[in-house]
C-alpha cells in the first residue's frame, strides 16, 4: 500500500528558542536542518533523547509552532496526538468528541466516536469529565481525537505513555491496521521498543536527523 509520493516532507527545518532572562538570556538551537519524509501506507518512527527536539519538530509539522528555516510540505487530512493530552479539564469525553467533530467538519461524529470508544475500550467514561479520568484514559481520548476523522497523515508524539500492556498492544494493532489501509503514520518516542513493526526509523541527534 506504500506509495512513492511523500505525504509529509520536512527539509532543512531549523528552530531555536531564547531561554532565561537577561543577563542570563541565551539562544538554544534545537533543530539545525532536520529532514524527514512519510509516505502513505508507511509506519515511521522518530527517536531521540529527551530534549532532542522531537516534539518541537512535531509542532512545526502540525503548524503549532513557526520554524526559523527550512520547508514543510504535507497533504491530506492531518491527525495529531500531542505528547501531553491537550484537553479541557471540566469538559466530558463526549463534549471533546463534539468539539473536534466540529473542527474536522465531521458529519458522522457519533459513529466515529463510538467506533474509537469501542476500539480503545473506554466507552464507559464518555460522560466523565477529564479531571475525573486516569492518565491512561486521558491518553486514550488524546489518541481518539487524533483519529476520529480518519486522517491521511497521523502524527503521534509519545502516544502510549500511561497505557497498560493490553492497551499498548492494541495501540500497535490499530496503527498497523491503519497503515495497511493507507494511512501514513509517524510515531515519535524517546524509546521505541517495537522497531520490527516500523517500516523505517529516523533518529534525531544534535538537531539533525539520520536514518537508522
Amino acid at each position: 500500500m506504500t506509495s512513492t509520493e511523500p505525504i509529509l516532507r520536512a527539509e532543512g527545518v531549523e528552530k531555536g528558542f531564547h531561554r532565561g532572562v537577561p543577563p542570563r538570556r541565551r539562544r538554544v538551537e534545537v533543530l539545525k536542518g532536520a529532514n524527514l519524509e512519510v509516505r502513505r501506507g508507511e509506519l515511521v518512527g522518530l527517536v531521540g533523547e529527551n530534549g532532542s527536539g522531537k516534539s518541537t519538530l512535531m509542532k512545526i509539522v502540525v503548524g503549532l509552532l513557526e520554524r526559523d528555516g527550512g520547508a514543510v510540505e504535507r497533504s491530506g487530512k492531518l491527525g495529531y496526538c500531542p505528547q501531553i493530552p491537550l484537553l479541557w479539564e471540566k469538559l466530558t469525553v463526549d463534549e471533546h468528541f463534539e468539539l473536534f467533530a466540529r473542527a474536522y467538519e465531521l458529519e458522522a461524529e457519533a459513529a466515529a466516536a463510538q467506533s474509537l470508544l469501542d476500539e480503545l475500550q473506554f466507552e464507559r467514561y464518555r460522560g466523565y469529565r477529564i479531571e475525573e479520568l486516569s492518565g491512561g484514559t486521558r491518553q486514550k481520548l488524546n489518541l481518539a481525537l487524533a483519529l476520529m476523522h480518519s486522517p491521511d497523515l497521523l502524527l503521534l508524539d509519545e502516544p502510549y505513555s500511561g497505557f497498560d500492556w493490553e492497551t499498548y498492544l492494541r495501540f500497535w494493532e490499530m496503527s498497523e491496521r491503519r497503515r495497511d489501509e493507507g494511512m501514513g503514520i509517524l510515531i515519535v518516542s524517546h524509546l521505541l521498543a517495537e522497531r520490527e513493526r516500523l517500516d523505517r526509523m529516523y533518529e534525531l541527534r544534535e538537531g539533525r536527523i539520520s536514518g537508522c
Partner: protein, 237 residues
C-alpha cells in the same frame, strides 16, 4: 461561522461554570464588595484625599466586583486552556473561530457577573437609574475582559499573571480621581464607567462625555480581548 462559534462558546462557558468555587465567588465577591467593602471605601477615599461619598462608594463597589471577577476569569480563560485551544484551532476550527467562541463565552460570563453585581447593589441601596447602572457595570466587565485576556495572552505563568491582574485592578481602583488627590494618574480605564455608576446610583444626570468614554473603552477592550484570544490560539513563533 456562527454554527461552530455558538456551540463552542457554550462549551467554554460550561467549562467555567463547572467549577463550584467559581460559582460561589460569583455571588460572594459582589456581595462582599457591595455590603462590606463599600462601607470602608468611602473612609479610605477620604483618608487618601478623595471625594467619594458613601452612597457613591456603594454604587462603585458593584463595578469593582464585576471588574475583578471578569479580569480574573478572562485571564484564566486564556491561561488554563491555551494548549487545548491551539490544538482545536490547528484541527481545523481556526484561531479566529476559537477566539470568537472565547469572546462569546467571556461576554456571557461578564453579563452574568454584571447581573449579579447589579442585583446586589439594587438590594443594598436601590438604584435611581437602573438601566444606566447596568450599562456602567457592564462597561467595567468589558474593560476587564480586555485586560485579563491581554495579560493571559502574554504572561504564561498563572501566578505571575493573576498577580498582574490584581496589580492593574489595584492601580485602577485606587488611582481614580474620586479616590485620591495625589493626581499621579489622571486617567484610569474605568474612570468614565465609575462616573456613570456613581451618577446612576445617586439619581444624577450622566454626562454624555462619560457615555462616549465608557462605551469607547469597553468596545476597544473587547476588540483587544478578541485579538488576545486569537493570539493565544494561533501558531507560536
Amino acid at each position: 461561522m456562527l454554527s461552530a462559534t455558538l456551540p463552542t462558546g457554550a462549551a467554554f462557558v460550561r467549562e467555567h461554570l463547572r467549577t463550584p468555587l467559581t460559582l460561589v465567588m460569583l455571588i460572594a465577591i459582589p456581595a462582599f464588595f457591595v455590603l462590606v467593602f463599600a462601607s470602608v471605601l468611602g473612609e479610605f477615599s477620604e483618608a487618601l484625599g478623595g471625594t467619594l461619598a458613601s452612597q457613591s462608594a456603594t454604587a462603585i463597589s458593584a463595578g469593582w466586583a464585576t471588574a475583578f471577577l471578569c479580569g480574573a476569569l478572562a485571564f484564566f480563560q486564556v491561561s488554563s486552556s491555551r494548549g487545548a485551544d491551539r490544538r482545536l484551532a490547528a484541527a481545523g476550527l481556526g484561531p479566529l473561530r476559537v477566539a470568537s467562541s472565547r469572546i462569546l463565552a467571556a461576554l456571557a460570563i461578564g453579563l452574568t457577573i454584571s447581573a449579579v453585581a447589579f442585583v446586589t447593589l439594587w438590594l443594598r441601596s436601590g438604584i435611581a437609574h437602573p438601566l444606566h447602572a447596568f450599562a456602567a457595570i457592564f462597561a467595567f466587565a468589558a474593560t476587564y475582559i480586555g485586560i485579563g485576556a491581554v495579560i493571559g495572552a502574554f504572561v504564561k505563568g498563572q501566578l505571575e499573571g493573576s498577580l498582574l491582574v490584581v496589580l492593574v485592578f489595584s492601580v485602577d481602583a485606587f488611582s481614580d480621581p474620586q479616590m485620591t488627590s495625589n493626581g499621579l494618574i489622571a486617567e484610569t480605564p474605568t474612570q468614565n464607567a465609575a462616573n456613570l455608576l456613581v451618577a446612576a446610583g445617586g439619581a444624577q444626570g450622566s454626562p454624555p462625555g462619560d457615555w462616549v468614554g465608557a462605551g469607547s473603552i469597553a468596545l476597544a477592550a473587547l476588540a483587544v480581548a478578541l485579538a488576545a484570544f486569537w493570539t493565544s490560539a494561533r501558531t507560536r513563533a
